[in-house]
């Protein structure tokens, strides 16, 4: 829930998106403008160039830039600017030809190979491998032994070798679309292959092909200019950028300036092609999402920090906690406390802010989310707004966090034993003590064959075992408070029960406490001493588990309970209709009003405060009708 989905199902096609991206980035626009300028000056070089590129003037050798020769003259007195304007022609044409050949061959071959698969795919893939067998540049140089200065042959060969990369790209894009539903639908409806390819597959490979063409232009320009530099590319009479760089290198001891103009033009041209390729690529699906914004940490001057801890038994006191994403708050004034020996359940649907609250306590929020107000006091120390260094001293020893997906929470590259030992060593154990403790820890979390599990990597163990390992890892620092985020969601029912038992044991000593985050009110009912129900960033009801779940004083808690599976109904009742409003759609009044059967006008007037509805034990609810919700009979 801390991830934001970025237009995953935007109706705009990738090609259109790429086009728009091209038009809106100033850098890319500059690139396009530069290329237009280079192409136009190359095409109209005869008209535009101030001098003839070949006319030598032996009285004006190696002159620096001046009013007549804007970029100076070379070692034969020829005008550098004029030579530059004439020098792009063959190069750009050559690159364009090679690119056109690459696309013309690669597009059909890739479509066929990707769509048909089978033998066609195998044969084409082998041919593609062949194009990568020897670097294209080496092939072109070797060819010059037979065809010196023959640009036509070089273009053709460069195009054919480039077709390998084009085929591979088109093949892979086609592969992905082929498997998508609409293609299947088109196939069953009996459309001919050609129609499917042209109407359905081709549009999705257009953007990748544009990207490829731009990249290919960049590569071809470098390759062809290198050949000119070596004197192998085209007629030595006609000026070209590569050849100008060669001439500059011959005069480098007397005049280094000559290296600058052709180099700069060449490099800028290649950069321009690459920029266009990058812009198109970034606009493709799966391109990078907008980069996260990093906030400065605010130092919170909360009066709560000076508040004396009410009860020496209180381990964690969260007060008025506000967490903001770049788009605004997602946790909005959450207050609760956890005492030693207690299990507190944080329950709510996804979007309620419970996971963000859990992550905020040990300061594990992603970089674009931050605590903007409130206080998190743990064992007398303020954690909100403190430094990473101080937090890292509290983490592990004071507060341990157990993540939702046990498999993803363990590093796939190291064995279970390695990860446990490293953690124990971090907490000060000697090498030998860590090795010994690892087995004990695994046994403590109910693993019967610790020696085998220790030698496994995470993908070699089951989800249940992985969760036990994750708990063992969290226990390595002997923490006072455990925060477990949906620890049983990924597991099947029998394993769930065992893990919950394990949690009960973990706090049984009376010195530890546990905050258990769950969407499953059944899990909460099973193990929690107290429960805080969250909805749209707020706690809406809080109290002892028996009293809250036995006689809910908030319609949301009631609805959650009704959606719980029970023995007398067949399976789970339908979930609560509607969904949690997104933070930008939080209403001013009661945030549950849209889904609440009891809503009245009073509910929508303004923010609903927490009301004290304590009975024998403290209770709060955030509902104007909290008192009306009389305890249900027969509890």
């Amino acid at each position: 829930m801390s991830t934001v989905v970025h237009h995953a199902d935007s109706p705009v096609g990738p090609a259109a998106r790429a086009g728009r991206a091209l038009a809106t980035s100033p850098l890319t626009l500059t690139a396009v403008a530069w290329l237009v300028l280079v192409v136009l000056t190359s095409v109209f070089a005869d008209q535009l160039a101030p001098f003839d590129p070949l006319t030598q003037n032996l009285t004006e050798l190696l002159k620096p830039p001046s009013a007549t020769h804007w970029l100076g003259t070379d070692s034969l007195g020829r005008d550098v600017l004029s030579r530059l304007m004439h020098g792009g022609d063959t190069l750009l044409w050559g690159a364009a030809e090679a690119t056109a050949i690459a696309v013309a061959l690669g597009l059909p071959a890739g479509l066929l190979s990707g769509y048909r698969g089978g033998i066609a795919d195998a044969v084409i893939s082998w041919l593609v491998d062949l194009t990568f067998a020897v670097p294209a540049f080496v092939v072109l140089v070797a060819l010059a032994v037979i065809y010196p200065q023959n640009t036509a042959v070089m273009m053709a060969v460069l195009g054919v070798l480039g077709a390998g990369a084009a085929t591979r790209l088109v093949r892979n894009s086609t592969r992905t679309v082929r498997d998508e539903l609409f293609i299947d639908a088109a196939r069953v409806s009996g459309l001919p292959l050609r129609t499917i390819l042209f109407r359905h597959v081709l549009p999705t490979v257009v953007a990748p092909v544009i990207m490829l063409a731009a990249t290919s232009m960049a590569i071809c320009v470098i390759v062809l200019s290198s050949l000119s530099f070596l004197g192998l590319g085209g007629s030595p009479e006609a000026p070209s950028w590569g050849q100008m760089i060669y001439e500059a290198s011959q005069n480098i001891t007397v005049d280094s300036w000559l290296l600058v103009p052709p180099g700069a033009v060449l490099i800028l041209t290649v950069i321009a092609f690459n920029l266009i390729a990058n812009t198109v690529r970034d606009a493709l699906p799966g391109g990078p999402t907008p980069r996260p914004v990093r906030h400065r940490r605010t130092v919170l001057a909360e009066t709560a920090a000076q508040r004396p801890d009410a009860d020496p038994q209180t381990l964690l006191g969260v007060h008025g906690l506000v967490v903001e994403f770049p788009s605004g708050p997602v946790v909005d004034g959450v207050t609760f406390a956890v005492r030693k020996g207690e299990i507190l359940g944080l329950v709510g649907e996804s979007g309620s802010g419970k996971t963000v609250t859990a992550l905020a306590i040990p300061g594990l929020l992603p970089i674009d989310e931050r605590i903007t107000a409130g206080s998190v006091r743990f064992a007398g120390e303020e954690l909100a707004g403190t430094t990473e260094r101080r937090l890292s001293r509290v983490r592990g020893r004071g507060v341990a966090y157990i993540a939702q997906e046990p498999m993803a929470a363990l590093d796939p590259c190291y064995t279970v034993g390695n990860q446990l030992r490293a953690a124990l060593r971090h907490f000060g154990a000697t090498r030998r003590a860590a090795a010994a403790r690892t087995g004990d820890l695994l046994r403590e979390v109910g693993i019967s064959d610790p020696d085998r599990v220790m030698r496994c990597r995470p993908h070699q163990i089951s989800g249940g075992i992985a969760q036990r390992v994750a708990i063992a890892l969290a226990l390595t620092g002997d923490p006072a408070l455990l925060i477990a985020d949906e620890p049983t969601t990924a597991l099947d029912v029998t394993v769930q029960a065992a893990i919950l038992d394990l949690f009960r044991n973990v706090v049984a000593t009376g010195e530890r406490a546990l905050v258990l985050v769950s969407h499953d009110i059944g899990v909460v009912a099973d193990v929690c001493d107290r429960v805080a129900v969250m909805y749209a960033g707020q706690i809406v009801e809080q109290g002892e588990t028996d009293s809250v779940l036995g006689a809910p004083r908030h319609p949301y808690t009631r609805a959650l309970l009704r959606s719980m599976p029970s023995l007398d109904t067949a399976g789970r009742l339908p979930v609560i209709p509607g969904s949690v409003p997104a933070p930008d759609a939080w209403p001013e009044g009661c945030r549950f009003a849209a889904r609440c059967a009891l809503a009245t006008d009073a509910c929508k007037k303004g923010p609903i405060p927490l009301m004290d509805v304590s009975g024998p034990s403290p209770r709060t609810t955030r509902c104007v009708r909290g008192h009306d919700l009389a305890p249900e009979p027969g509890r």
């Binding site: 092939v139 500059a248 929470a409």
Partner: protein, 314 residues
């Protein structure tokens, strides 16, 4: 692991065979009498006949092909048309030069690209990160021959701190060997650092965002360990792939760079072969490059096999 290497190597054999065959038939593309092509218009009929006889150029193409294949199997790459020297011997003296260049450049690109990638991944979205990304795009566009000439000018002509040309063998003087390679290696490494940096940056960033890094962070394990033990280790496979891909490109770059720095490597052999119409030398160099590409790809596959935890046994 060994079986993967064997399978890969076996798969490369037909590929190399095609390359060799194509390189052989290159000489069939010569218009008219190859001997006249090699020796030029001023040669006498007697000279041409001598060349024909020495290299069997009058035989049918298939005949010649089969005998070169037979020679190849016994490790004989043929002889130079110009000097009659053994191509195998010629290339074996050139190989260490190119190998030194390529290996050093690979190390430099991998180390610099990865280090900068980690650095930027830790500062994602910051100004340094954006500047580095732009710089990565820019250096990729710089042709190695241009930067090579520029480096010669700056360090060998302007400041005279490093030799401009020439090569010293490693076993003669390791210090001078390294000195003679510093500028060529920089020229070859600059462009590939860009893509390797970008790949390392995104792979490390992805690993740092992963749950397993949050797990160790939640244990209070210091940032340095989070990054080096967990972030880098999990990002290693894509980085190795990028390094391998760029090493192949770098091999091609040695041709121009050896020319500029006057290093007697494979690239220089190739060029002199091309200019002298010495087809057997060109064929030999092409084959060696193809073998080089096979070896680089094999090394990448093996490394990825070692790095990918799922391929390993517990």
């Amino acid at each position: 692991m060994g079986s993967l290497a064997l399978r890969r190597a076996a798969g490369a054999v037909p590929l190399l065979l095609v390359v060799w065959t194509a390189a052989f038939f290159l000489q069939q593309l010569i218009h008219g009498d190859p001997a006249a092509y090699v020796l030029g218009n001023t040669s006498t009929a007697a000279q041409r006949d001598q060349l024909d006889a020495a290299f069997g150029l009058h035989r049918s193409p298939l005949d010649q092909y089969l005998s070169t294949c037979a020679n190849l199997l016994s490790g004989d790459l043929g002889r130079s048309w110009i000097t009659s020297e053994s191509v195998g011997r010629l290339l074996s003296t050139a190989l260490p030069v190119t190998l030194s260049l390529a290996l050093l450049s690979t190390l430099v690109t991998a180390a610099v690209g990865t280090a900068l990638g980690i650095w930027a991944a830790l500062r994602r979205g910051s100004r340094v990160d954006r500047i580095l990304q732009l710089a990565a795009g820019a250096v990729t566009a710089v042709p190695n021959y241009w930067i090579a000439v520029g480096l010669v000018y700056l360090f060998a002509i302007q400041y005279r701190v490093l030799p401009a040309t020439g090569y010293v063998q490693l076993n003669q003087s390791p210090g001078q060997w390294l000195q003679s390679l510093i500028l060529p290696v920089i020229a070859l490494s600059l462009a590939p650092i860009g893509p390797i940096f970008l790949q390392a940056r995104s792979a490390v960033a992805e690993a740092l965002d992963a749950d397993y890094v949050r797990t160790v962070r939640a244990l209070g394990i210091p940032r340095r360990r989070q990054v080096l033990k967990h972030g880098l280790r999990n990002a290693a496979a894509p980085i190795v792939t990028a390094v391998g891909f760029n090493t192949v490109g770098l091999l091609a770059g040695t041709v121009a760079v050896e020319q500029i720095f006057n290093l007697p490597g494979l690239g220089s052999q190739l060029l002199s072969g091309v200019l002298g119409h010495d087809v057997p030398v060109v064929q030999g160099v092409v084959l060696v490059f193809a073998v080089g590409v096979v070896i680089v790809n094999l090394a990448v596959d093996l490394l990825i096999g070692v790095l990918n935890p799922k391929a390993r046994r517990a």
